[in-house]
């Protein structure tokens, strides 16, 4: 399976072993080879742990953007029992970069909103690589209002490099819709559970990120700006993207430390792209547990606590008032 994966340079020690395992498994097998295979498999586990346990911030971005990383559409089939897609923003169009629809999560009927990046090149281009347009956020808002009306909890899967930067997007109010979406989510009278599954790119991510519970997968990132964008502005060159990645402190553990997320969902050794099913199971466990803790809360409490959650965010000094 791993041979079909896109290979990141940082994974070299892993796929070297994986290749040798494949070779051995393909060849006729004697006792000696069996022993060697067992040894290699043990080694593989160790090497995966080491490589993925010591990713630097830029490498984390590479993993978060891995072409084979499970996407919203993968989780829709691996985590949910049913997905009934609902299209369109009833105003301009149907943005493929934003998926919305009814879904079943164990016994819960929910509404899912998620960025979609696409798998094939054609899909990726159609989805603008996961960069939603204003109609995508309008679609999300429309479906969230529907969910509110019928008491369905909302699950948001976040995976975007950022909201689309283009002429049409500006003409149709990219800033306006992101603001409105946060405004809507802030007081939406149903539980909202959000998970950043890959890239949490700036306002485009936060536009569907105002939830009662927010988690980030271990090797996902969530940032005010892309490392390239930040490097371009502050270092005047994209070449410094790794420095920017380090400075921005956007990895899952940092986010937890800053109190902006509730949980880090551990990835299987080797990353979500090597073990999508295992990753989906872990994500599902967290989603179900979060939902269970929210569904019985009175709406007023739910919305008040959501307000307090975001109200606390920020770090500043306050001098004693004179």
């Amino acid at each position: 399976m791993s041979s079909a994966l896109h290979r990141l340079p940082l994974e070299k020690p892993i796929y070297q072993i994986e290749d040798r395992i494949s070779q051995l498994e393909a060849a006729p097998v004697g006792a000696q080879e069996q022993e060697e295979l067992r040894r290699l498999k043990r080694e593989l586990v160790e090497v995966q742990k080491n490589v993925f346990g010591s990713l630097d911030p830029w490498q984390t971005v590479e993993v978060a953007r891995h072409p084979n990383r499970p996407k919203t559409s993968d989780y829709l089939s691996l985590v949910f029992d049913e997905f009934v897609e609902l299209h369109g923003d009833k105003a301009f169009g149907d943005d493929p970069a934003m998926l919305t629809g009814f879904a079943k999560l164990e016994q819960h009927k929910v509404l899912v909103v998620g960025h979609q990046k696409g798998k094939t090149l054609a899909e990726r281009q159609a989805c603008h690589f996961g960069c939603a347009h204003p109609e995508g956020y309008r679609k999300a808002m429309g479906k969230m209002r529907l969910a509110a009306k019928y008491g369905l909890p909302v699950i948001c899967l976040i995976d975007t490099p950022g909201a689309y930067p283009g002429i049409g997007a500006e003409e149709r109010g990219q800033a306006q819709v992101i603001a409105e979406s946060m405004f809507l989510m802030a007081t939406l009278p149903v539980p909202i559970v959000c998970a950043v599954i890959g890239e949490g790119g700036s306002g485009g991510a936060l536009g569907i990120g105002v939830g009662d519970r927010v988690a980030v997968l271990e090797h996902a990132y969530y940032s005010v700006i892309s490392p390239e964008g930040c490097a371009g502005i502050l270092w005047k060159s994209v070449e410094f993207k790794a420095d920017a990645a380090r400075a921005l402190r956007f990895r899952s553990r940092d986010l937890k430390e800053f109190g902006v997320i509730d949980a880090v969902i551990e990835e299987p050794a080797g990353g979500a792209h090597r073990h999508p099913r295992q990753m989906a199971t872990r994500l599902k466990t967290w989603l179900v547990r979060s939902l269970r803790s929210l569904v019985d809360q009175p709406t007023d409490t739910l919305v008040a606590e959501r307000y307090e959650k975001f109200r606390r965010m920020g770090v500043f000094l306050e001098e004693a008032a004179s």
Partner: protein, 315 residues
Amino acid sequence: MERRRSPRPSTVTTAVGTASGNSASAGTEPAEVATRPPAKPAESATAPRTKRGVPEGLWQKCEGCGATIYRKEAEEMQNVCPQCGFHWYVSAAQRIAQLLDDGTFEECDANLRPTDPLGFRDKKAYAERIVSEQKRTGMRDAVVTGTGMIRARRVACGVTDSSFIMGSMGSVVGERLTRLVERATAGKLPLIIISASGGGARMHEGILSLMQMAKVSAALARHSQAGGLFISVLTNPTMGGVAASFASLGDLCFAEPRALIGFAGPRTIKATIRVELPKGFQTSEFLLEHGFIDRIVARKDLKSEIARAIDYCGG
């Protein structure tokens, strides 16, 4: 009065191009547009400021039409170019003086100070940048908030200042605005926020800056549910995370003429789609045309326009 498109002299067309062209030299992604405000028009009463690329003294080159303008004359017009009507930079303090009735402003939460939660360092450490920006501008951070009167109507008022790290929103800006909104809700005051934030969400405070967008927006949602009025005034420049949060959430959105307003910076867009951007792209007039602005309001009319809107909305 609000759409001064046709009677402009021919220089103005190029001026619009220049306005976005300048900021295009700045950056990428939402949080940017690095136009420094034009060097502060000489207002000797406040802290001295270093001026960049602009001749010191009595004259100033207009960012709009390129004409050399006698500064005093522009100052008498609230920093508006007497030749082309381009609205120059005004500091938060000047803005408050222009907008509120004399002596009515009471600042709130002036005791909040920025810190450096990330230990952020680019070419310069953020901790040092804060100190140097504070020295240069005399401000503690990029916003001033408080209460005061507009033509004898009591309001809660916040103003961001594009000279302090491009008017970007970090924890202090987010917190002061949130407290202002909550104060307006509790006191049933009309809320006015004037944005001059080319920097969007402040990169140097990372994810914490991003979350300020949600925090202020959530406070505005409550304010709205409580029936509170919010008038957002967008001025040059309002970009990125500020445009994509409170600045776009007004019951009424006013914009000063020819301000640069948008989500993604012009340079990011150019780099992404690789075509020339249309003339006047991301200006107030562009937003009005596309339906995102209620009125374009010249600076000289802002006070009376706000007062009138408050009267209509039962303030």
